[in-house]
Symmetry: none
Subunit: 199 residues, 4 copies
């Protein structure tokens, strides 16, 4: 019955965004279940009541926060890919993409932990995750075609390459281990990705 308003006025849009940002920030720091709506409102600098004019319930805030998180994480990687226009030096360029990915994962490491956890807590959030991944892989395929790489099973190979970069980024951020030679991990990953697309 209490209708959810989609804000039109600039100030309202800003307010809604502040709430999303506050949600993303606190969810990332303490987890969804350990965050209260009162806290979100406080950090966003609004009253608790107004939250429920822009969002159906607490989970609705989470959904918007996750969306924003994915944009924040994947868009820069996609942009980085788009900078590459020809296949002059695959190794170096792939290394650059990996660097961006690692940097972004590192910058969002706590948030990322939480977002992954959240995507496992709720089907709606999980769906957002899947869709987001689809989109990034689609972009990878387009990128590869744009640099004249044309092989069989493009999608499947993009999947594997994407997973390798993701795994590697996680390795860097979450498993920092003294016994591991991380430079080698990168160079070996590049070598393998090359082995995928350039036989």
């Amino acid at each position: 019955m209490p209708e959810i308003r989609e804000p039109i006025k600039q100030t309202s849009i800003e307010k809604k965004n502040k709430i999303i940002d506050a949600g993303l920030k606190i969810f990332s720091e303490k987890g969804y279940y350990n965050t209260t709506t009162a806290e979100i409102a406080k950090v966003a600098g609004v009253s608790t009541g107004i939250v429920y004019q822009y969002f159906k319930d607490k989970k609705d805030i989470l959904i918007y926060a996750v969306k924003k998180y994915y944009d924040r994480l994947f868009n820069p990687i996609a942009s980085e890919l788009e900078k590459i226009t020809k296949l002059s030096d695959f190794d170096e360029q792939m290394k650059s993409v990996i660097d961006v990915s690692i940097k972004l994962h590192r910058a969002n490491s706590v948030a990322h932990e939480e977002m992954i956890a959240m995507s496992h807590l709720d089907p709606d959030i999980h769906q957002l995750f899947i869709e987001s991944e689809h989109r990034i892989i689609e972009r990878i395929v387009q990128f590869l075609e744009s640099i004249d790489i044309d092989v069989d099973h493009m999608h499947e190979k993009a999947h594997i390459a994407y997973n390798m970069v993701e795994s590697l980024s996680h390795e860097f951020v979450y498993h920092q281990d003294d016994d591991v030679d991380y430079d080698f991990l990168v160079s070996e990953t590049v070598r393998l990705i090359k082995a995928i697309f350039v036989n």
Copy 2:
């Protein structure tokens, strides 16, 4: 004041195990935060009070449950690896390992989702995850040495291979997508793993 007893008597050990099993079962089905201790006690067939004689608090049950889960997931993979004793047909054997991994992930898919989420909710749980991964990679290295594979950067390569199999298993269980040729994913993964160790 309320001391946590480490059960000695057989019946007590069984009781503690029942609680862990009940916890693992319900956490896996509904998530940690949506599970009440009363529910765990009921499923375990004990009183709510007794739970707090064997476990410090609710999270303590989770820790034991996660440990049990990892044993349940990784031990069979390790066993499968140990069956392989020589490098007669690497491709076929690796495919068999992948099959086991996928099967186990599938069998535990809901639980696995939850356990991953949980490992992100709490540093203690996360630590368990890391340690568990270390152990499995150690076993992989031992296995590789046992079949006379001896290359540089053994650990790093084992890491990459392990991640590839994990990613692939997740792909199978969580992202089932009609447009993807899963057989190809497997064969390509085997080919790449071979490319890692057998140059």
Copy 3:
């Protein structure tokens, strides 16, 4: 500080009336405590803010609504009574009055339920109820005198008669029971009322 204005302009009077009507309508349907001021404003076609320029608070709307309700219920009964000018056929005329009462109670049954409940929730509302009853009984007395009925204890007898018709009307509207012969209830009530005034 916020002064309650008594509207003077025609448009303002209409606006105030719209709010009262909306209040009466929704209070009747869902009850005072389940009705929000926002809802009343929406149904009245005004903003939530303006409500507080015409009414002190939510209860103030209720008071006006109850007043309007009583007018709506009792005025027609009084009018009906006034149609009767002589005591030609007491039975038939009393039956006609009862019919009007039942019809009105039926037409307002849901509203009536709520109004009774409300008159018990608040002394101010209860007072309105009492006064309203006084007025109708006064009219009954006047009516009886106008048809040359002149007995002792006129007021007390009018009370009893009024209560009998009220009880009967409620019986019809709220207790519809298959085992009860309602025609007999009416004729017996008429007979008893006659026994009150015409010995």
Copy 4:
């Protein structure tokens, strides 16, 4: 999911009763919507939590409270009726019944107001009211038969008589008016009830 326990142990039954009594008391004083569960618990001398082990929700407390109220109101009237065993002096005995009814209504006047209001707020509560009335009228019929009164339309007549006594009791309790001769109201009511059954 959180199961409602039906208390078996004596202490638990007492506790449940204390909550019902507290509910009845405060609902009667301040109304259902102005009463908080915390308040009920406090008055009952229990914690807020325990309330929800014995009652599904707040309304569930109300239902039990209303039941108890009806028992408290109607049982004594029924008992009074049962004391009368023969038709020696109808007038005097009926007056005695009326006195008891008035006394009970007076003793419960505030509670009664609220209970009536409540029976209009919720269909379940209303149903309890109807059933309770059915029962009391059934008892009146039995009583009348037991003193060898045997007329046509017994039920309908009992209805009318019951309503007259109820109306009268309300008149006494809620409308105390200086201009009304209450003794006459009683004697006239007795006269009319006699006119119903003893023609």
